[in-house]
Structure formats: structure tokens, C-alpha cells
């Protein structure tokens, strides 16, 4: 299997005493392995069933996101951000747009803020559903997986209605959105919500009180609070440790400070807590979307500044100013004042940060992403050392590593 040298873990005297020659086993899990979805390789050093050490090897999905951004205008980066966390592309879109807008120093319209909140929460639900479904699947609950994925599919259909794409959405623009929400959105959302409620109820009935499932999740994959903070863990992972940190609450952006919501936290920091927190967050997100639809004012979804957003088409064809603005935006990109900015939003797995350096031209000088699961995967060896190989499966699932985001 591996060419690495194997450390013998018993001394020679001990081996003589039990009369057996023993050595550690090196097991290469992945990159193509049922448990390592998202394409990662674990090099495990096993002593029987116990993990002595674990070395996560990331980078199999590297596409050069950050370098690509340097060679594209600020607007052209949106399709790249879709492919970061492919379970919740809207959140990436919004996070990137907020970063550039912070650097530009512009204020977006009220309606746009609400729409961005709605789509973020919509994809938070879809991301959490994916995570819950995958966790259940790997513990043997194939039925729960299909129920979860069915709900996610309905959210994809809704996404398609919003922007015409299921996954590669590219819906958000700097200074606004490509378009307003469709008129049928509120009705369609009601339908999705009803089906989602039913599926969540079924899922809860199937595994919520299942002894085997609880035994597999409870007291496995525990990380204590100090270590979690020192590794930079955020999101449901950190909240499972009992830390009340959520970017939506700590540094409210968009309209999160106007919504009535609670932050679910855990106590033990184990897989079961993370699972329950995700379930609770789905419910919170549903309620947030309902509140947003209620509060949402009428009005434009794009700011009225032709240096940032494209002018309307009939203006482009009929006035020289709009024509010029269109040309400049397309050929040179929108001009962002020189400087650097770090803007952070709450992704489904934790703090999703964008660090952008601008040199005043139409293209970013440097773009860096802080993917939430990078820090979680870094903490994985800490969690798994000395634990059983089978505990790796639910732990890796509740971490919810997304290859597109971590490898960029």
C-alpha cells in the first residue's frame, strides 16, 4: 500500500513477551473513497481499529480560484464564487458582493438587502440538508438520505425559478442583483416550506430517537472549546461547543438585526450536537425567510449608479452616457478605490470571509477566501487521534467539508 515507513508500536521486549510481531497499519482513505466525498485523502496510521494519527491531504479540487479572480473583472468573479461551496452558492455570491461593496463604500437598496437575506437563508437550508442527509447515509440510513435530498431538490427548483440555474447561480451583482425575485416566489416558497416541514418531520421520526443513530453520534467527534477556538473553528461546529458566535449576530449584515431569530447552541461539542444544531438552524432559516417576505418593501433591487451597475438596455441603445457607462463597465470593469478589505458573512459551515486588495483598476489585485471548513478539517486530526476508525465517518460528515471551497 504505502511506501511510508511504519513505526512499530510495541517494544521488542513486549513483542517477545506476547510472541507476536506487531506493526502499525497505514491506510490510505481516498481521494476516491465512499467516505471522502468532496475529494480528500486521509492517511491513517492504525493500531487495530484505533486511529493513532490522521493526515488530511487536501487539494484534489484545486482550480486556482484566487488566481483566476486576479485576471477577471470584479463582476466576472461571481461565476467562480458559485463553485466555491457548491451546496450554497447564493451565500458565496452574497459574501463576495458584500466585500466589494464594503471597499466601494456603497449602500445597496432596502429590497436588495431583503432578497439577499432570503436567498442566503434558502441556501443555508439546502447546505444543512445536504450535510444531514450525507451523515445519515453514511451511518446506513439510506431512506433519510433520500428524504433530505428530495427537499434539497425542491429548493433547487425554487433556485432555478429565481435565477434560471440550479447550482451555478451567479445571481448577485455588485450593487444589487441581476433581477428581482419572481412574482410567484412567495407562493412557491409556501409549497416548498410545506413539503420541507413534512420531510423534516419524517426524518425526525426515522432517526431522531433511534438508539443506534444516537449511539453513533453522541460522544463521538468531541472537540473542546479552547482547541476549537484556537483552530479557528466557526459555525455550527463552534456553536456545538457552546460558544455563541454567529456572524449574523456578532456583526449583523444585510437585515439580520431586524429579524427575530435565536441561535441554537450545544453543550458537549459532539456530532449529535452539531446534527441537532443544523436541524434547529433549518427551522430558524425557514422563519427568517417568512419574516423577510413579510417585511420586504417594494422598490428597485439595484442602486442607481452607472459606475457600478450596468445601465438599463434601452438607455444603452438610446443615450451616449449610458452607452459609455456600459462600455467602460464591460471592457474595464467597475473601478474600485485602492485599499484592502476583509468582509465576513456566516456561511452554512461557519465564517466565510473574503479578503480583497484593490489597486484601483478594474481587476482585483488579490482575492483570498477564508473557507469555513478549512479550519475544521485542520482540527480533524486533533479530534480523531485515539478514536475508532468508524467514528471518522460521522465526524467528517458533520464537519461537512466542501472540496470546492477548501481547495479553491
Amino acid at each position: 500500500m504505502s511506501t511510508e515507513t511504519v513505526r512499530e508500536y510495541l517494544t521488542e521486549e513486549e513483542e517477545d513477551r506476547i510472541g507476536l510481531h506487531t506493526q502499525e497499519m497505514i491506510l490510505n482513505m481516498g481521494p476516491s473513497h465512499p467516505a471522502t466525498h468532496g475529494t480528500v485523502k486521509f492517511t491513517l496510521r492504525l493500531e487495530g481499529e484505533t486511529i493513532r494519527d490522521l493526515d488530511p491531504d487536501i487539494g484534489y479540487l484545486h482550480r486556482g480560484f484566487e488566481k483566476m479572480c486576479e485576471n477577471a473583472t470584479y463582476t466576472h468573479a461571481f461565476p467562480y464564487t458559485d463553485r466555491l461551496n457548491y451546496c450554497s452558492p447564493f451565500i458565496n455570491n452574497v459574501g463576495y458582493a458584500l466585500a466589494v461593496e464594503k471597499l466601494l463604500g456603497i449602500e445597496i437598496t432596502e429590497r436588495c438587502k431583503y432578497v439577499r437575506t432570503i436567498i442566503s437563508e434558502l441556501h443555508r437550508i439546502s447546505d444543512h440538508l445536504t450535510c444531514l442527509a450525507a451523515t445519515s447515509l453514511e451511518l446506513g440510513a439510506f431512506t433519510v438520505f433520500l428524504y433530505g435530498v428530495q427537499s434539497r431538490e425542491e429548493i433547487y427548483v425554487l433556485t432555478e425559478e429565481i435565477c434560471g440555474a440550479r447550482l451555478t447561480v451567479s445571481y448577485v451583482r455588485i450593487g444589487g442583483l441581476t433581477d428581482d425575485l419572481p412574482e410567484s416566489f412567495a407562493d412557491h416558497w409556501k409549497l416548498v416550506k410545506r413539503r420541507l416541514d413534512k420531510n423534516l418531520y419524517d426524518i425526525d421520526k426515522l432517526i431522531g430517537r433511534n438508539r443506534i443513530f444516537i449511539d453513533r453520534m453522541q460522544n463521538t467527534g468531541i472537540l473542546d472549546t479552547e482547541t476549537a477556538i484556537s483552530y479557528g473553528c466557526t459555525g455550527p461546529f463552534l456553536r456545538a461547543c457552546g460558544v455563541e458566535y454567529d456572524v449574523r449576530d456578532a456583526a449583523p449584515y444585510l437585515v439580520y438585526d431586524r429579524l427575530d431569530w435565536t441561535m441554537p447552541t450545544g453543550t458537549r461539542g459532539d456530532n449529535w450536537d452539531r446534527f441537532l444544531i443544523r436541524l434547529a438552524e433549518i427551522e430558524q432559516s425557514i422563519s427568517m425567510i417568512d419574516q423577510c417576505i413579510e417585511q420586504m418593501p417594494e422598490g428597485p433591487v439595484r442602486i442607481d449608479d452607472w459606475r457600478v451597475v450596468l445601465p438599463p438596455k434601452d438607455e444603452v441603445y438610446n443615450s451616449i452616457e449610458a452607452m459609455m457607462a456600459h462600455f467602460k463597465l464591460i471592457m474595464e470593469g467597475l473601478k474600485v478605490p485602492p485599499g484592502e478589505v476583509y468582509s465576513y458573512t456566516e456561511g452554512a459551515n461557519g465564517e466565510l470571509g473574503f479578503f480583497i486588495v484593490s489597486d484601483g483598476s478594474g481587476k482585483p489585485s488579490r482575492v483570498h477566501v477564508r473557507p469555513p471548513c478549512y479550519h475544521l478539517v485542520a482540527a480533524l486530526p486533533e479530534i480523531m487521534r485515539g478514536k475508532l476508525i468508524q467514528d471518522l465517518v460521522p465526524t467528517f460528515d458533520t464537519i461537512n467539508m466542501i472540496g470546492g471551497e477548501i481547495d479553491r
Binding site: 500500500m1 497499519m25 497505514i26 491506510l27 482513505m29 473513497h33 465512499p34 467516505a35 492504525l46 487495530g48 481499529e49 445519515s136 453514511e138 451511518l139 446506513g140 440510513a141 439510506f142 431512506t143 433520500l146 428524504y147 428530495q150 426515522l206 432517526i207 433511534n210 443506534i212 443513530f213 449511539d215 453513533r216 475508532l388 476508525i389 468508524q390 467514528d391 471518522l392 465517518v393
Partner: protein, 351 residues
Amino acid sequence: MTAQVVEALVHAAIKFAILVPGFVLALAALMSWIERRQSAMIQDRVGPNRASIGGVRAWGLFHIIADTLKFALKENIVPRGSNPLLFRLAPFMAMAPALIVFAVMPVGPTNRWVVSNLDVGILFIFAIGSLSVYGATIAGWSSNNNFSLLGALRVSAQMISYEVSLALNLVGVFMVFGSINLQTIIEGQGALLGGVLPKWGIVVQPVAFFLFLAASIAETKRTPFDAPEGEPELVSGYFTEYSGLALATWFLTEFAAVIMVAMMATAVFFGGWQIPWLPPTPALVATWWFQIACVMAFFAKTLFFVWVQMQLRWTLLRMRYDQIMTMGWKYILPISLANVLVTGLFLLLTR
């Protein structure tokens, strides 16, 4: 003398040939369809329904043929660095014991309906059935794959552990019916308790039945006890490296084990071929229609338990390896010992 021996052998061979390929293997093939179709119903899916012959789809039944053809047309890959002889031999070492055990299973009232009515019936099943573990262990070891090796270690530990509880669970039944001959046990279940309730194994030994079901599902290595082939971490466990018909052999072995569990549950706990409230008087047993009805009853009960096991497999989740061991040694084994004790005391006091 020699002629008699030859005649007995020929009879046994014919009966075995009818029972095993005719019923067990046919049902095992059908189970590949049942499993996919039943799980599809649970999960709001359509399931396999595409294979057709001349436009006739028959609820996807032709998938059995399609699957077999697909397996047969694949290459039997023997991985480099493996032990080719043992690697090829292992599936048969697992399959042969799984099929041989059917020889002592009485499917009908008289000796005509059992291949070999051994006095040590159940012990024969345990003795031969436990040989299956060699096939799985050797398969895992000879594959030269660390995933297979871990699977093999798990399978050997799990099967040996549960063999103990499995046998102990049935001791209570032996004590009640005073025999380990399967035919005698089934005949003993024909009586009525208080003239109302059939004296089936589940009535006189309810605890033993549930423990037996748990332990025997662990023996078949299916969910919730499928840690040896635990897909997320060990890919496919001890048969990771198998392909083509060799892989199909592993599936058939698993399904044969499921049928064996169903037949054991039927024979020991659900009256075997007994039709409830229809005591098999000698006059009745002599008639051919009653015998046929009994055989049908036996197969119907067997199918019911196959269905139960499928339902369990698609409802429950996978346990962790150490939890399986804990359950076997710390819960099932002591409870079955206590069951033996209580049964013994009860028999002693009521004698």
C-alpha cells in the same frame, strides 16, 4: 447393504438438488430483486423496472436475468500481490457451508420432506454454518488490501462472538421440547397450550426469539450489523477486491444466510411446517394434500421472515464495531444465559 446406502445417497442427493437450487438459490436470486424493489417502496422511489423481454417488464423481475448476465460478463479480476488460489477459493469456502446447512431443514411432516433427518440437527447447522467465517476471513486476507483485511478481522470477531449467543439462545428451546432434532422440535410445536394457543417456540420462549433474531442477523452481516462490510469506511470490507461472478457468489452467500435465518426462525419459533389449529394426526399426515399444505405453510413463513429481515435492513442504521461487540457480549449473552436459567427453573418446578 451397499445397495441401500447407494439408494439413500441418491435419494438425499435428489432431495438436496430440489431444495437447494430449486428453492434456496431461486429465492436468493429473487431476493436481489425483492431487496431493491422493497427498499424503493420504502423510499418513495420506483426501483428497478427497466429490464424487459419483448416489451414485457413484469415489475422489473427480468432484472434478475440482467444482473446475472452482467455479473457473468465481467472479468474476474485477481489483484496483483494477492494469493490467487485462496482468493479464488474463498467465495466457495463461504458458500458451500451456507448451502449445506439446508440439508437438515425439515420442510414437511415426514422424513420424505427432509434431506437428512439428523438427530443432532441444530448442532449440525451451527457446526457447518460456523465454517463460513473461514471463507470471509481468507477472502479478506488473500486480497492484499488493507480495507479487506480490516473487514476480515471484523467479520471473524463478529461471527465468532455471535455464534456463542446464537447457540445459547436456542438452549431454552431445546429444554422445552427436549430435543435438538429439528423434526422433533417442530412436531412438539403442534400441541395447543390450554387448547387455544399453539405451543410455538415464540410462545414458550419469547425472549429467546428476539435475541435469536438479533444474533442471527449479526451472523448474516447485514445492517445494523454490517460493520464488516461497512461501506463508508471499508468500501466493501472483505469482498472489496472481488468482481464478476465471484462477487455474485458473495451476494448469493449472504442471501442464502438470510434464508437460513428465516427457516431457522420458522422451524424453531414459528411451528415450522405446522398449520396453526390443525394438529397433524397420523391419518392426516398420511394424506398427500396435507403434506403439500404443510410445505406451503413452511415456505410462507420463511418468506415472511425474509420480508421482516429486508424491512429491518432498510429501516435501521449501522452500528459501530465496538457497539456490536458490546451488545453481543454484554447484553445478548447474559440475557440468553438468564433465559436458560429461568427456563430450567420453570421446567424443574413444574415437572
